[in-house]
Symmetry: C2
Subunit: 293 residues, 2 copies
């Protein structure tokens, strides 16, 4: 039975998320309502209410809208539920600086992965790494969470694959997860054909309106082989991301760190060296102390 | 002309703020809808939508609701607009530890002050210091912002006083602001009669439903004399808060730090010593580097 949802609530979130995923932009009413696909009057009354409550501020002269301090306050309150994330920001900055990649922190919430923090912006293709972007928690995404999930949650994860996984795919995934769990990190390969799609993919999922065409592209990526299993030190790999779980004291994985490196070509040895930096950072976050070399 | 507001948007914010101002609580549907004063079915469809979008998570077994990772993500995006706040968290923790008081950071958004960060929780009366709490930016609140406002903004601030300020009150306020600006901090006195009201006051303003009775109490506090002007080193003062502006490079004040010390009795010398810790912390935030002694 589908749960009753609230369309007005969705519209409020659409407005907030438009601003959240483009924090450096300056958007007026016309541009906002057009981009979101909402009537100007609906958009205006939502914006007025958000401004009134401090979630959005309007520039006193230029009149454009951006996120306000009440949004910070709610975010800070949410952080108390995800204490590991509090320690993550300096760690991500350091990782991004050392690797010249985008470093992100993803949190798992039900059937979604949310980018809760991000540092570095070297890569124009890394729309997927913007704070606030959501991805479905279904294969091939979310390996650090899937690989450490309890049996029942793992089955739900596999069941959310669209189209459904074949028996062979399940086998391959289970093997990839086993390897990744043992070595402490997961490597997503770069499939050049879908480069231009990263940005669109992230946008589509952010808007909570998964386009069937995009879903089929996700499926195609999955088929083509996404996770790198055995690493040959001398071979050259095209890597899209490296991901490592942050394992809490209780043994659960609620957040993961990732390095986004679309188009990065590296030897197996270079790949492992970079992955070890990521793993050290994830371990430092788990232990609640700053990452030191 | 009043701006058109959106009631459904207000209801969404009420739900989020209920959770945001009580981040450690565990609330189910019945308690939430009853506390907010909303029908169960309305509350449920809002909650479902917020859960669906990752702003709220529901405990898989106990079914209670709390803020989710999408709220963190929006907060992080908002922080890029208030860069000073990013550096504020370790500073507040250190201040709270050193003073054994609640240390807060308030941001100014239009006609509201929002507590965007808070550390330490020694004081049961400091409901006013909880992250997410809003106060009206009108006398006697918001001295660090009022005292540094441009002329037009300062007049708006005075005009928002309710009931209106008398000429004598304006004169006294202008003198208090001048003294506070020169020494770098503002001291709010503790008026014992309104102790039990702090919590209610904060709740009322958070809910954006300013109760007229509470407003008249604010007015009474104002009348009784709120800001401490000349400090006698040997005298004993009952202090409710010390506040200091964080002056950005451009000379504007968008955030302020405060120490909440309801019921604290201190000599003028002790008060000044504590205030200087606060001022040093505010200066360190303004310069974007960690606070060191």
């Amino acid at each position: 039975m589908p749960k009753p949802l609230s369309n007005p609530t969705m519209r409020v979130l659409q407005v907030m998320e438009y601003l959240a995923t483009r924090p450096s932009g300056t958007y007026g009413l016309s541009e906002l309502s057009r981009s979101i696909g909402m009537s100007k009057s609906t958009c205006l009354s939502i914006l007025n209410t958000l401004v009134d409550a401090g979630y959005v501020i309007q520039h006193p002269v230029q009149r454009y809208y951006s996120l306000g301090p009440a949004a910070i306050a709610v975010g800070q309150a949410a952080l108390t539920r995800f204490p590991d994330v509090t320690d993550v920001f300096p760690v991500l900055k350091k990782l991004a600086r050392e690797t010249n990649m985008t470093a992100t922190c993803e949190a798992l919430a039900g059937d979604q992965l949310v980018v809760v923090a991000s540092a570095g912006r070297g890569d124009p293709l890394s729309g997927i790494g913007r704070t606030g972007v959501r991805l479905p928690f279904s294969p091939p995404y979310g390996a650090p969470f899937g690989a450490t999930a309890e049996l029942e949650a793992f089955r739900d994860y596999l069941d959310r694959a669209d189209p459904p996984l074949s028996d062979d795919e399940v086998k391959r995934l289970v093997r990839s997860f086993e390897i990744g769990r043992q070595r402490g990190f997961f490597v997503g390969l770069d499939l050049p054909a879908d480069h231009p799609l990263h940005e669109k993919l992230a946008e589509a999922w952010t808007a909570r309106s998964p386009d069937r065409k995009l879903q089929s592209i996700v499926a195609a990526r999955r088929m083509a082989g996404y996770l790198l299993d055995d690493i040959d030190l001398a071979a050259i790999y095209a890597v899209s991301s490296i991901q490592a779980p942050v394992v809490s004291r209780g043994g659960t994985v609620e957040i993961a760190l990732a390095l986004l490196a679309f188009g990065w070509k590296a030897t197996g040895a270079q790949l492992i060296a970079t992955a070890h930096k990521l793993v050290a950072a994830a371990e430092a976050v788990a232990e609640g102390r700053p990452h030191r070399r």
